[in-house]
Symmetry: C2
Subunit: 91 residues, 2 copies
Amino acid sequence: MTFVTILGFIAAALTTGSFLPQAIKTIRTNDTRSISLFMYLLFSTGTLLWLIFGMLSSNMPIIVANAITLVFAVIILFYKVRNQKKRNINK
Amino acid sequence: MTFVTILGFIAAALTTGSFLPQAIKTIRTNDTRSISLFMYLLFSTGTLLWLIFGMLSSNMPIIVANAITLVFAVIILFYKVRNQKKRNINK
């Protein structure tokens, strides 16, 4: 494995794994006020398209990385939408 | 251009562009309470490594996408760190 390949793996692990602490924080605190709804709508849709892209081009690293990221992103999006709805009801 | 390639471009545009509304929200509100510091530390480092990976493998789409994402991520990280410091001083 070349240095560049190893670098790619580390980069993928970091960007994929980075959504885990955000998901944990969101679940623990149930606070999503400063999180952008629009960001997670775009990001989740993009990650889903990356997943389909990976499947159609049989690219396993893209499939694995985006499947994991999608789970974290959808959890955060779910909390954000739920809290947004609550806030609208309470208005 | 094949369907799969177009799908990849749309996916890249969405995941890259998704950090713009978060950066705008963060700058406007200066509220980073529900944002995970650890997420943006990992994510910014990962994006920087992707950028270096793209440069070393002369992959223009990877370079462009990650250069843009890195700018947004670092803005959000900067606000988060600044607010965290303020909070620690006020304790």
